[in-house]
């Protein structure tokens, strides 16, 4: 929804919240994730809850809320029974510098201040650890915003007795905890208050009148930030950028101005601005964003621009380049098909409002950046949190490389008459094993991101995965696949729960980038092998249809299972007798 994209007016969102909510509620469908969010506040949280509801709905998450009584965050976290009964999927702790028990003063010695810091940190740490053991779910914790006043003026920033200094040291301790604990995320209100404007953020009228620790018109910004963390945890980040070229990645029109005439590089201000934007886009690749181009140009001109002496982005940085005279909605559709990702995971950047209007009309699922000038590009992309990075796995660093390798595989496939010959020529090697600690994050990420090849679409936080891993009730397998072109990384996950001599397959998913490679056969072979070891006689598979997983509706049938049941909405159950089983995979070498 356009009014919920940065930059938005907090005051306007608050005035129009009810009608926006009404519209969003109408859009709720079966594909929405239902999530229970517990808000533990150190000050009033009502407006934050309301705005969070709006932003989460706009991201496809239907929230149910639990709120602590006023300022009871700590007691609730430590002892609250209602919180446990609520069974939160996510806990958000909304505290502010007003919740710091002991601030330093000018009479304190360095040692006293250190003790206060330690005590202040321990107070929070005890609470987090208690929450981790009581709730086993991701925790989102505010850091501290800059305090309202600076007693010593500028000196407050560096003098150990300054509250400003103390707060920034306490924040550092929070970050150290975040660095050593997965499923613990900082909501950076220290950034938000600066972005919003400290004077306006700290409008104490809202504190004294209603006990809000920030100005109420700033609560949408805060809620937006929390919603971005939550949607990122649940794999609802955007995945790819579709970029125009002329007047988007460089100044001017390359077809008219020639490669020497475009604005790029250090010579002129405009060129510098485009170069900086290119650098930003290039670094997005490092967090796993796939880069693509859709430009109305002759392909030769597009490539010439990407070979400009001052270009930061090169042809090989893009997984797909569509430079032609087709309508952009057509190109965008093809880009999504080539990459095998949903149209709703694309962000379109184009300086031309007419192109944007066509795409908006034809493909309303695409996120469109409403920006006309280069100096606004970075800020707008950055602040919208499309690519909010909560879980950063090694896969992300090389993701776009994997997509480029896939393009090469597709080219090779065309040169073979027989598909099996092609598969053999890939020299595939798979590693299929029980879950291991280094992959917990990636496994959780996959359960949250995979939509198409996902039989049950069951989502797991990292804590959930860790719990499954230590339980003897489960058989778990992850699968990695590499071939002569490169490593695809961890691409498949199966979780089966033992029930006597039956194994209930609760999760079977695979990344679409390894479709049609017999990886699913290799996974089934290993699953049968592990199941037989513990006396399982029957595998039981489940298919729950969603708007995105139609491709696996007949998956179990293809794998030789027998359908035993299907209800009116298409939920089906399948069984496979494994007492006699013939291996299916004959093209991948499997390492255990």
């Amino acid at each position: 929804m356009k009014e919920l994209e940065y930059p938005f007016e907090g005051g306007v969102l608050i005035s129009k919240r009810k009608s926006i909510l009404r519209k969003l509620r109408k859009s709720v469908s079966q594909s929405f994730l239902s999530k229970k969010i517990a808000i533990l506040g150190g000050s009033t949280t009502a407006s934050i809850r309301d705005m969070l509801e709006v932003f989460l709905l706009s991201q496809g998450i239907d929230p149910e809320f639990y709120e602590s009584e006023y300022a009871q965050y700590w007691q609730d976290a430590m002892f609250g029974e209602n919180l446990i009964e609520f069974k939160p999927d996510i806990i958000f702790i909304h505290t502010s510098f007003r919740n710091i028990k002991e601030l330093p003063n000018l009479h304190d010695s360095v040692r006293t201040i250190d003790l206060k810091l330690e005590k202040g940190f321990e107070y929070f740490k005890t609470m987090w650890e208690k929450l981790i053991s009581r709730c086993h779910c991701p925790i989102i914790q505010n850091n501290f915003e800059r305090p309202i006043w600076r007693l010593m003026g500028n000196r407050d920033a560096w003098d150990l007795r300054g509250v400003t200094n103390f707060v920034s040291r306490l924040n550092q301790r929070f970050y150290e905890f975040a660095q050593t604990h997965s499923d613990f995320f900082i909501n950076d209100i220290d950034y938000l208050c600066a972005q919003y404007g400290l004077d306006k953020w700290h409008d104490v009228y809202y504190w004294h009148m209603f006990k809000y620790a920030l100005a109420v018109p700033a609560t949408p910004l805060l809620a937006f930030s929390v919603a971005n963390i939550i949607k990122s945890i649940y794999g609802k980040n955007k995945k790819a950028l579709v970029l125009d070229l002329d007047n988007t990645l460089w100044g001017g029109v390359i077809g008219d101005d020639g490669v020497d005439g475009i604005g790029l590089g250090p010579e002129v201000s405009m060129g510098q601005a485009y170069s900086e934007f290119q650098s930003y886009v290039k670094s997005l690749k490092d967090i796993g964003v796939i880069l693509t181009v859709s430009s109305k140009n002759e392909e030769g001109n597009a490539i010439a621009g990407l070979n400009h002496p001052d270009t930061v982005l090169h042809q090989e940085d893009f997984a797909v380049i569509k430079a032609n005279w087709n309508n952009k909605d057509l190109n965008i559709r093809e880009i999504a098909t080539t990459l095998n990702i949903g149209i709703d995971s694309l962000v379109f950047v184009d300086d031309n409002p007419a192109e944007r209007a066509i795409v908006r009309c034809q493909l309303p699922e695409v996120t469109i950046l409403e920006v006309n000038i280069v100096e606004d590009y970075i800020r707008t992309i950055d602040n919208n949190g499309y690519f909010e990075t909560t879980n950063f796995s090694a896969e992300d660093l090389v993701k776009s490389k994997m997509y480029t390798e896939n393009t090469k595989r597709a080219e090779l496939a065309l040169s073979f008459g027989d598909y099996r010959d092609f598969l053999i020529s890939l020299k595939m090697i798979a590693v299929i094993r029980d879950f291991e600690p280094i992959y917990m994050q990636r496994i959780s990420q996959l359960t949250n991101k995979s939509n198409q090849f996902n039989l049950t679409t069951k989502r797991y936080s990292q804590s959930d995965i860790e719990q499954v891993t230590v339980s003897s009730e489960y058989i778990r397998l992850y699968g990695k696949l590499s071939d002569k072109f490169g490593d695809n990384g961890l691409v498949s996950v199966i979780i089966g729960k033992k029930k006597g001599d039956i194994l209930d397959i609760e999760v079977w998913l695979m990344s679409c980038r390894v479709l049609k490679r017999q990886m699913e056969d290799a996974m089934l072979d290993r699953l049968v092998e592990e199941a037989q070891k513990v006396g399982i006689k029957t595998l039981k598979g489940y298919y729950y249809p969603t708007v995105k997983n139609a491709m696996v509706r007949d998956f179990y049938k293809i794998q030789g299972f027998t359908k035993i049941n299907e209800d009116s909405v298409g939920n089906s159950q399948w069984t496979l007798d494994i007492q006699s089983y013939n291996k299916r995979n004959d093209v991948i070498e499997v390492k255990k």
Binding site: E9, G11, V12, I14, S15, K16, R17, K18, S19, L21, R22, A46, S47, Y205, H208, M209, F210, V216, P217
Partner: protein, 85 residues
């Protein structure tokens, strides 16, 4: 630019309709929180934020504390618009 009471009333009514998402609301000078079911303490804050936004003004704590009916809100807006030319 100073606004007439009538103009203020019309715009204020729109704000009430927006905040409560109810197109049938019609407020007058004598309307109080007791007259509108939706006008609870939480919506009250949203209402104040919305009025401030609509008229580009900022209420003081004293003003908000002393608001008892819509007429008094109009008084404050009128005065503030007059004050700021």
């Amino acid at each position: 630019m100073s606004l007439s009471r009538e103009e203020i009333n019309t715009r204020l009514n729109e704000v009430f309709r927006d905040v409560f998402d109810n197109a049938n609301i019609s407020v007058s000078d004598s309307t109080t929180a007791a007259d509108l079911e939706e006008w609870d303490s939480f919506n009250h804050i949203a209402l104040i934020v919305a009025i401030e936004k609509e008229f580009g003004i900022k209420f003081s704590m004293v003003e908000v504390t002393n608001m008892h009916n819509v007429g008094e809100v109009v008084d404050i807006i009128e005065e503030s618009k007059h004050r700021n030319g």
